[in-house]
Structure formats: C-alpha cells, structure tokens
C-alpha cells in the first residue's frame, strides 16, 4: 500500500447557504494525516453539503479551506483539478454505467488517475466482488453497485476520502470490509470524512455534529456575505 505524504486539511469559519437558507455557519474542522472525521446530525443539517464543499463541488458562502503539505499551504477552493486529484468522493449516486462491465466501470475511473489493471483486481477483492468482474452494471443490485463505487476509490489511491452515507444498501459483512478498508487507508496516512446514520466503527474518529452549527433563528436571519 502506498504511503501518503504528511498533510493536513483544515476548514475555518465555513458558512453554507442553500437557496438563501443558512444551513450551517462558523464551522471549523481540522483533519491530520491518518485522521477520521464522522459527520452526524439530523436530515438537512448539511452533512452532504459539507462533504461537497470539502470536495470543491460547492463553494462556501464564507470561510476558508486549506490543504497543508510539505510546508506549502493551498486554498482548496481555488484549483479544482489539483484538489480533485487528491480526493475521492462517494456521493448518493454510484456512477455505475449499465452497459459497461464492473471492470470497465472501475477501470475507467482508475485509469483517469493512473491506476493499473492489477490495482483494479485488488480493489474488487477488497469488497469481495471479484466474481462480478465482467458482469454489466445493469445486472447489479443496489448493494453491489455501491460496492463497485467503493472499489473505485481503492483502485487509484488518493489521500482524502469523502464518503457520503457509504453504508447505504450494504450488508453487515460488507460494512465490516469497509471499516477495514478505512482503517488500512488511515494506517497509510490517508484521511477519511464520512457522514453516517448507521454505525460505522472508526476508532479514534473525531465526531462533528452538524446540529451544533445550525442557524439558531432560520427565519429572520438570512446571512449576508
């Protein structure tokens, strides 16, 4: 397993505004190499928004996010291609094309990040889907699609994993495999942020409750920034 260089990912005073409603504000996070952050909070409290913000898909209304590595600091909202290369994002959709086989689906994403054929097989092994290697995506169940999507992030290493409800549709055995994969990733110096309603065992993970950053008076306070 490749070791990631020592890095740190920080966010300060983040504000998220969705269609003129402040979802959260004054939110800080600090993630070190090998660290994990678990996002909890009721529906609509902004867990997905925060993950998308960390990925660079959503611009914060206010606040900064910085990536520290080898004595350099970089504002992650500036260059999406550079930041995108060091993260894997697993969202609500599994991005599995129905007409491509499992191997082709994973292979495409891996090759965009210079992953090889052998890493694809290893990744399939991690989530126990080797037998699905040449099965087209349209024959997969929801849980199998999710496993393919998770295997994708193993097939090409990137230091930061952003997992939005990764356990959706997964069975207990696969959740165990995911926990082991997360642990391996952290042992190699990677970072993980995940949002979850179910129990995912991530020892030593910091817990961030989004409800603590909710706007207290949502009706009269439309934050102007």
């Amino acid at each position: 397993m490749t070791r990631f260089s020592d890095s740190q990912f920080q966010g300060q005073d983040l504000v998220c505004v969705r269609s003129e409603r402040t979802v959260f504000r004054h939110l800080n996070f600090d993630l070190k190499a090998g660290g994990a952050l678990t996002l909890i909070g009721p529906n609509g409290s902004g867990k997905s928004s925060l993950l998308r913000m960390m990925a660079g898909l959503l611009q914060p209304a206010n606040g900064t996010m910085n990536w520290f590595e080898d004595d350099t600091t970089e504002d992650t909202t500036e260059d999406m291609d550079v930041h995108g290369a060091r993260l894997h994002y697993v969202g609500h959709h599994d991005a599995v094309k129905p007409v491509l086989t499992v191997a082709e689906n994973i292979g495409f994403w891996a090759r965009l990040r210079d992953g090889g054929e052998d890493t694809i097989r290893d990744a399939l092994d991690v989530f126990d889907i080797k037998h699905l290697y040449d099965i087209p995506g349209r024959f997969l169940s929801a849980g199998q699609k999710r496993r393919v999507n998770l295997a994708r992030i193993i097939a090409a290493p990137a230091p930061l994993w952003l997992l939005d409800e990764p356990t959706t549709a997964l069975d207990k055995a696969t959740i165990k495999r995911l926990e082991a994969a997360i642990q391996d990733h952290r042992d190699a110096g990677g970072m993980v942020v995940l949002s979850t309603h179910a129990d995912v065992n991530t020892p030593g993970a910091e817990i961030l409750n989004l409800a603590d950053f909710a706007c207290k008076a949502p009706l009269d306070e439309h934050v102007m920034v």
């Binding site: 990925a55 898909l57 290369a85 969202g91 491509l100 495409f108 965009l112 990040r113």
Partner: protein
C-alpha cells in the same frame, strides 16, 4: 492526452452499446429531408433550388436531437460529479464529450448527406462543397450545443428549452453552409463561405468549452 482518449473511447463505447442514438439521429435526418419532396412537389427545378437549405436545416435539427443526452445521463447517475473531480480539466472533458458526440452523430449525418442530395436533385457541382461545409459546420453545432446541454441540466422539459437556447445560435452556420452550396451551384467562389465556417469552428472551439464547463459547475452546485 491519454486521459482525453480515455474519455472519448468511454463515450464511444457507451454510445455503441446503447446503440440507438446514432441510428435515430440518422433516421430522423433522412425522414425530415424525405418529407420535403412530398411538401413542395417533385418538380426537379424546385427541389434543386431548396436542396442545400433543406439538408442543412435537417442536419441542424437532427444534431440537436441527441444533444439533450450529452451530459444528462452522466448528471443523473453521478458520473458528472466524478468527472468534475477527476484530475482532468473539465474543459478538456467537455471537448472529449463533444468529439465523441460528433463522431456518433455528426459523422453519420455527413455520410448520409450525399444520398439525400441525390434524392433532392442537388446539382453535381454542389456535392463536394456540401460535404466540406458539413465537415466544417457540424463540429461547431456540437460545440455550441454542448453549452446549451450544460445549461439545461436539472431542468424539466430540458429538450424544448435546449432548442430555444441553441437554434438561434445555429443561424450563422446555416447561412454560410447554405450559401457555400449555392455558390458552388452558381459557379461562384465558395472559398469565403467555407473560410467563415472554419472561422466559426475555430472560434467556438476556443470559447464554448469554457462556457460549457462553467455551466456544468453551476449545475453541480
């Protein structure tokens, strides 16, 4: 460059395995042109006069037919987010998708056009110029269409909106495309018209990927 080829070949294999898109575009093109002889009557003189324009308008409409799906499926299944996060500039991804779109729709149109030109009794002198003009014009159609396709993401009834956005922008291509064919038939110089088409192609190649990528980022927010 490797990534660019990777992106193009993915879209091509998706298009070939889903199969129907290219076929439907060509079928629509043929049917739209075939309707004209029924509408205006089969007199050779009349048909020949409108041949260039008819083929161009039909090519415009049929190229637009498949544009709606250019980003739509990737948007719906989450691939677009991952493409935006991939270490490939989104502008390059847009160009790759446009190239794949042109290869699966524009190119088949060009290959069918000579047959339809015979049907419309286009004078022989116009054939080569018609093909050349289509070769220069159809990539521009795909490029401009990509901007529209990016802007309609997430809206209902996107197809209708797309045609309202894109068709007015197609007018310059239509004008120079048809006038090139007419110039060839009436034995005038075709060069200025073709040069204009080439200029439109180069201009939109430089500008539209940025506009489309900005539209995609907006849709992903």
């Amino acid at each position: 460059m490797g990534n660019f080829i990777e992106l193009v070949s993915r879209d091509l294999s998706l298009a070939f395995r889903q199969g129907m898109d290219s076929l439907m575009v060509v079928a629509f093109f043929v049917i739209a042109v075939v309707l004209f002889p029924f509408g205006v009557g089969p007199e050779p003189g009349t048909l020949a006069k409108i041949a260039g324009g008819t083929i161009w308008v039909a090519a415009l409409l049929s190229s637009m037919l498949s544009l709606e799906r250019l980003f739509q499926t990737d948007y719906e299944d989450g691939s677009l987010e991952l493409l935006a996060l991939a270490p490939v500039p989104l502008e390059v991804t847009v160009i790759a998708k446009v190239v794949a779109h042109w290869l699966t729709t524009g190119l088949p149109l060009i290959l069918t056009a000579p047959l339809l030109a015979v049907l419309m009794q286009l004078p022989e002198d116009g054939f080569i110029v018609l093909i050349t003009a289509l070769l220069l014009g159809t990539p521009t159609l795909s490029l401009i269409g990509a901007v529209g396709a990016a802007l309609i993401l997430g809206s209902r009834r996107g197809g209708v909106l797309l045609s309202l956005l894109v068709l007015p922008l197609y007018i310059p291509i239509l004008i120079f495309g048809v006038s090139a064919v007419d110039a060839a038939i009436f034995d005038q110089s075709v060069r200025p018209h073709l040069v204009f088409l080439a200029a439109l192609l180069v201009g939109s190649l430089a500008l539209t990927p940025w506009a489309a990528a900005a539209g995609l980022r907006q849709a992903l927010e």
